[in-house]
Amino acid sequence: MMSSGTINLTLKVWRQDNSRARGALSTYTLRNISTDMSFLEMLDVLNEQLLLTGEEPVAFDHDCREGICGMCGAVVNGQPHGPERETSLCQLHMRHFKSGDTLVIEPFRARAFKVVKDLVVDRSSFDTIIQAGGYVSVNAGGAPDGNALPISQQNAEQAMDAAACIGCGACVAACPNAAAMLFVSGKVSQLALLPQGHPERKERALNMVKTMDDLGFGNCTNERECEAACPKGISIRHIARLNREFLKAAVTGE
């Protein structure tokens, strides 16, 4: 195991000073990159190299480095989080690349995600969407016993499938329409599958969809790219459920 081969790479990295500046690709070469490295560790090596030559390191977001915080993410050769299925950038390892490869690394692009710097984008629009209804209105204190409300195992599992979203934004980055449907559908679906979410389900669907639209995300045309790029394998089945939730709410909602 851990065969430590090494590879040489050419990187073309998007450099942009801030949200107002114009960006462009810069080219760097990296030698002797261990194939056991994660993609982000490869970027660390690049940054150490840049720092030692007095250049500005590449800004990129990251935190947990184990595929759960949703902080990391860039588009590698056209694919958000790179080529591996159900793998976030921090979980992508360099053994999936060959020596001599050229990697073009760009930020997630969408009108609703402004570039902060280099590969860092502002995804606060996701928070705004959740604020529009991605919750159950319950204050701490008065909750009934956890077992007072039985929930079928199947529903709990499906709700968990939907809830596994890490809010990384790759779905938006991958969608040809920069739509946020997969993200929104995860939350709407989770709370539609659980009885706790039912009292507010109509307003939730209407408000979250409206907020998503107002923020400048595109319209879904069922391209299925989001699902393919999603590091958590969230299925577009949840988008279908969101559509149903929306229909019910639109026709019968106050």
């Binding site: 947990c64 949703g70 016993d145 596994a164 659980l194």
Partner: protein, 636 residues
């Protein structure tokens, strides 16, 4: 200074209720006039911010991350404990209390831990009501598993993503309050200092990480929920941004830092594979239920594990601890792994790993069963190492995981600076010298949802609700100091990167202030740390400017604090000449080389007070036990 823990009088089971009753209340009409600053939006911070806002306070919440949902809490895998006794297996509040206090090796306060056990049940109810998709049985009831060596099944979980789901639950409540205008959420802000005015915490100084602007935020109370300091060791299972900065700067403003040497080392992590390694990944402890731990008998045996015959394998845990075998507690498992590797019997290229072998379990239960049980963990392992544990034994090694120490707080979670409250991993309160699995999530949420909402009123009721003026001298001078230290960092124009120093510090701490400690090693570390620090200020390089998004600068600030904080850790480790909880003090062992606790001399909380350049001052808060008998652990 006398540290008063303010433990309410009375019978253990009634303390909390009576305390809530006797605490002063804030008039509901006045609540919105009180502004509370919550720093951090992990489990503790997000739950506190949301709940305080529900009560009507005017809450401002800040976090380093771009969204509250990213906090390090998101990574917790295993689960959260509660004394629900849904399994009818004899669990109770008292048993959870007992297990937790015993797990902490009798180095925590009875009253705090009992309260935690009591509130554990309310946490589950609250999270279920929020729509947290906990695992369920076929009949629709909540499922439980046993975790971390507990004799009862009391751990609630949501696949391997419990922390994520709990945090998203707290985040959803927080988002609701943001929408209602009760919480002002300020992401991408790093707290640089605490403002103390007339002896009270009155606000904070932060850096806006996008614009670089230094901002002052005033409030009637400051709540720190900034997580643990495990990253002092550079390599740990903590998220990259986890830091000690907020807590350490509060310490420098007078808050006592308690038990800084208590650090938990988790035995089952994926080993280090190169010096470029940036962090360590935890593999669930449940693996030890079916995996057998071994190393080659011969030192320096470099054959692949499949080629090492049965007779040349040393199943050292089974040998040494026949009754517990591979299921010995975290600290014992970790220590023994390190011991084996130090003897040169470690596996893999680095020699810093032991095998965790599933061959026998696969033979016994069949491939299908093992895959069902551990399939996703195996996948995760394979993703990182490109090796499949179904065919080749897994390699594991211990890693820094959790820090029990933190800012000293009383029963109200208030530090010795009035108005400064500390929650979650950032305080020291409930885990003693060792944390039981699945209890950090419990503590963070108990603090945030239930404790602070009841105790903060007692403080605020005695404060005027006039607006806090951030134009005062104390704010402005604190701000200038913060600005000054940033400028100093930006002036560093040496040859070594910040990470390089961090790595060096981490290695030093791991070697001398990790699982096993010895006076000589600790003294060596104590001598070396100031040297590293000196070289940092001489020869580090920080790029960019202060008026932009600058991750190098952020990192440099955090590492600079670790470089000072490490010394405090070592001081604490040095004074505690007993083995307890997570670590072995080599001078304090039984004849069989087992940890030897010294209740006579060390049954206290060590709380350190900052003294400028001089050695920090140690205060001891004695611990007394009226409801449990102090027993020593034995796993033979």
């Amino acid at each position: 200074m006398i540290l008063d823990a303010k433990i309410p009088a009375g019978n253990l089971a009634e303390k909390w209720e009576r305390h809530c009753f006797s605490s002063k209340l804030v008039n509901p009409a006045n609540k919105r006039k009180y502004k509370i600053i919550v720093v951090g939006s992990g489990l503790a911070g997000a739950s506190a911010a949301a709940t305080l806002a529900e009560l009507g306070y005017n809450v401002h919440c800040l976090t380093i991350h771009d969204s509250p949902r990213r906090a390090h809490s998101i990574a917790a895998q295993g689960g959260i404990n509660a004394a629900k006794n849904y399994q009818n297996d004899g669990d109770s509040v008292f048993r959870l209390f007992y297990d937790t206090i015993k797990g902490g090796d009798f180095r925590s306060r009875e009253a705090n831990v009992y309260r935690l056990a009591q509130l554990s049940n309310n946490i589950i109810d609250q999270c279920v009501a929020q729509g947290v998709p906990f695992a369920r049985e076929y009949g629709g009831q909540l499922a439980n598993r046993s975790f971390g060596g507990a004799q009862v099944s009391r751990t609630f979980y949501a696949r391997g993503q419990t922390g994520q789901q709990l945090l998203l639950g707290a985040y959803s409540s927080l988002s609701r309050q943001v929408k209602l205008g009760k919480v002002t959420m300020m992401p991408r802000r790093e707290m640089l200092d605490l403002v103390v005015e007339e002896g009270r915490a009155r606000g904070i100084v932060v850096r806006n990480l996008i614009s670089g602007e230094i901002e002052c935020h005033g409030g009637h109370a400051v709540v720190l929920a900034t997580g643990g300091y495990g990253n002092a060791f550079y390599l740990s299972t903590n998220a990259m941004a986890s830091n000690v900065t907020a807590a350490f700067r509060a310490y420098k403003r007078g808050a006592c830092f308690a038990n800084p040497c208590y650090v938990q080392i988790h035995p089952t992590c994926i080993p280090v594979h190169g010096d470029y390694q940036s962090k360590l990944t935890l593999m669930s402890e449940s693996l030890r239920n079916d995996g057998r731990v071994w190393v080659p008998k011969k030192t320096g045996d470099s054959r692949p594990p499949e080629q090492i015959p049965e007779s040349e394998r040393d199943y050292y845990l089974e040998q040494k601890y026949p009754s517990f075998g591979n299921l010995v507690p975290r600290d014992v498992a970790s220590r023994n792994a390190k011991e084996q590797c130090d003897q040169g019997k470690g596996a893999g290229e680095t020699g810093l790993a032991v095998y965790l072998d599933f061959t026998e379990a696969i033979k016994r239960d069949g491939e299908a069963t093992i895959i069902r049980k551990y399939g996703n963990l195996f996948q995760m392992y394979e993703k990182i190492t490109a090796s499949n544990p179904m065919h080749t034994p897994m390699m594991i090694y211990p890693a820094v995981h959790y820090t029990m120490g933190g800012l000293w707080v009383d029963y109200n979670l208030m530090s010795n600076i009035p108005g400064l409250f500390v929650l979650g991993e950032a305080n020291f309160s409930d885990h003693g010298a060792n944390r039981l699995g699945a209890s950090a999530l419990m503590q963070g949420l108990a603090d945030g949802y239930f404790v602070i909402p009841s105790t903060i009123g007692g403080y605020l009721a005695g404060c005027s609700h006039d607006d806090v003026d951030t134009g005062t001298d104390s704010f402005q001078s604190t701000r200038q100091e913060a600005d000054g230290s940033l400028k100093k960092l930006l002036g560093l124009n040496g040859k070594r990167t910040v990470d390089d120093f961090h790595k060096e510090l981490g290695k030093l701490l791991w070697d001398h202030c990790g699982m096993a400690r010895h006076k000589d090693g600790l003294e060596q570390a104590l001598a070396r740390i100031p040297e590293i620090r000196g070289e940092f200020w001489d020869n580090a390089y920080v790029s960019g400017s202060g008026t932009e998004f600058n991750q190098t600068l952020e990192k440099a600030g955090r590492v600079a604090d670790f470089l000072e904080f490490a010394e405090l850790m070592v001081h604490d480790a040095l004074q505690r000449q007993e083995s307890c909880g997570c670590h072995l003090r080599e001078e304090s062992q039984t004849k069989e080389h087992e940890a030897l606790r010294d209740d006579e001399n060390y049954s206290y909380v060590s709380a350190w007070q900052y003294q400028g350049d001089a050695k920090p001052l140690l205060h001891k808060e004695p611990l007394s036990f009226e409801n449990v008998e102090l027993t020593s652990r034995s796993y033979k």
